[in-house]
Symmetry: C2
Subunit: 135 residues, 2 copies
């Protein structure tokens, strides 16, 4: 992926999320709401809609998302993973990768607009995700 | 993609959508609610979560989704396209590809659970989508 020297993470994403790390093509974030595990990949691009990415960049992004999905299932024991790129509120391309289970606060509805409970991660939690996901 | 001789479209998807055609790896459907253009790709697989697909099948599915996204933008003049695989209500893997614009009935919210208006396509509309998308 072309390095964009002017690329900056959107301030709303920076505010709403913990920074986990930089993967090959994107920033990996974790939504601060700990009532379910909600990761967000933000590729280093000016393209706004995921389906407008060149195929190689799209495939690389989905490859990273699959690693996160695998982590959600294998390590955090979620039976299901939602994935979506919406971006109508925050217009910087970002891909949601969200662990879902039947006892989560909004099952079976999507999380967006339906997550009425809040919870916070400890600094130790975030460090654990960093060490497990970025090794 | 392996041909699954037992594969059948989930009855809820069959009921909620018009059948547009069979693309290389999936069935292409159009949601019956015509208040915005909402396509759904249903790959011929028993895998339930998109991120669990083998990379080649995932990339092929996203390639098809990109063609639909291109059609939504270039032919139907949508400025934005939402894409998502949720599948908690209908547990057969399906990928939503949805045209979005600022004057649509639920902007900027996601369509799922927020599309309170209904409208129907004419048979001629559906035939037009078929001829334009499947040529």
């Amino acid at each position: 992926m072309t390095e964009l020297t002017h690329w900056q993470l959107h301030p709303t994403l920076a505010q709403d999320c913990h920074f986990i790390g930089r993967v090959s093509c994107a920033e990996l974030l974790l939504h601060r709401n700990a009532s379910l595990h909600w990761f967000i990949l933000v590729p280093h691009t000016d393209v706004v809609d995921m389906l407008d990415l060149p195929a190689d960049e799209r495939n690389a992004l989905l490859g990273q998302a699959s690693k996160v999905g695998h982590y959600l299932k294998q390590t955090l024991h979620y039976p299901r993973v939602n994935v979506g790129a919406l971006g109508l509120v925050v217009p910087q391309l970002h891909l949601h990768v969200i662990g879902r289970r039947e006892d989560d606060p909004c099952w079976p509805a999507p999380v967006w607009g339906n997550l009425d409970v809040d919870a916070a991660y400890s600094a130790r939690d975030v460090e654990r995700f960093r060490s497990e996901l970025m090794r």
